[in-house]
C-alpha cells in the first residue's frame, strides 16, 4: 500500500477538470448540478488524500464538511430547478438568463 500522494491528487485534479468541462459544455440544469457534484467530490478526494499522506484526521473532517455543503446545495438547487421548470417548461439554462420575472 505505497501509493504516491501525487497520484491521488492527480486523480482528484482529473475528476475536477472533467466536472468543469461538463459544467461549461452542458446547458441542461440537472447535468450542470451533477457536474458541480463531481467537482465537489473531487475536492473531497484531494482533502482525504492529503490528510492520508500526513497520517492525520484533518482531511477527513474537511470531507465531512464538504459533504454537508454538497447536501444542502443540492437540496436548494433541485428546488430551484423545479421552480424553473414550472416557469419556463424546459431545463435549458440559457432561457433563464434574461432575469425577467
Amino acid at each position: 500500500m505505497n501509493i504516491p500522494m501525487e497520484q491521488g491528487i492527480l486523480l482528484a485534479a482529473l475528476l475536477f477538470c472533467i466536472g468543469l468541462t461538463g459544467l461549461l459544455v452542458r446547458r441542461d440544469a440537472i447535468f450542470m448540478l451533477m457536474s458541480v457534484e463531481i467537482m465537489l467530490n473531487a475536492a473531497g478526494v484531494a482533502f482525504v488524500v492529503a490528510g492520508s499522506a500526513r497520517g492525520q484526521a484533518d482531511g477527513q473532517v474537511m470531507f465531512i464538511f464538504i459533504l454537508t455543503m454538497a447536501a444542502s446545495e443540492v437540496s436548494v438547487g433541485l428546488a430551484l430547478i423545479i421552480q424553473l421548470y414550472k416557469k419556463f417548461k424546459s431545463l435549458d439554462m440559457d432561457r433563464a438568463s434574461t432575469m425577467k420575472g
Binding site: 472533467i18 497520517g55 454537508t68 455543503m69
Partner: protein
Amino acid sequence: MNILFYIAAFLAIITTVKVVIGKNAVHTLLYLIVSLLSISVIFFIIGAPFVAALEVITYAGAIMVLFVFVIMMLNVSKKERNKENELLKPNIWIGPSIISIILFMEMVYILTYQPAHTMTQHKVLLDAVGKLMFTKYILVVELAAFLLTAGIIGAYHLGQKEKMIHHRYLKNEKMKS
C-alpha cells in the same frame, strides 16, 4: 493493493466521463453512482474507512436519490433531449475542453516538479476524526448546522406550490400581471 487503487481510479475516470457526455439523465445518474462507489473504494484503500462509508451512505445513497426523485417529477420531453444532443457537437465542447486541459496540465506540472511523498501506512480511525471534529473544528460544525438549516428552509420555501387563489378579483389581477 496498489493495483486495486489503479483499477478503481480508472473506473472512476471512465464513469465520470460517461456522466459528462451522457444524454439520458437516468443512465447518467447511474454512472455517477458507480463513479462515487469507486471513489469510495479508493478511500478504503488509502486508509479512510469512515469516509468511504460516508461516501456510500450520503453521496450515493441520499444525494443521488434526491436527483432520481427530481428527474422522475420533471418528465422531460423528447424535444428537450434532442436539443441537448446538438450541444454535444465538437464546435461547442472543444473550447471548454481546451480550458480544462490547460488547467489539468498546470496541475500535472506542479505535481511532477516536487519530491514524491508516499502515503503513510497506518489508517486514520474514526475516533481521531470525531475528537478533532468536536475540539478543533467545533465552530465549523456549528456553521455546518447553520448551513443545513438554511438549506432545509430554502428548499421548503422554493419547493412549495403556488397558493390557490379563490377570490375572483385577485384571480383577475393575477391574469393581468
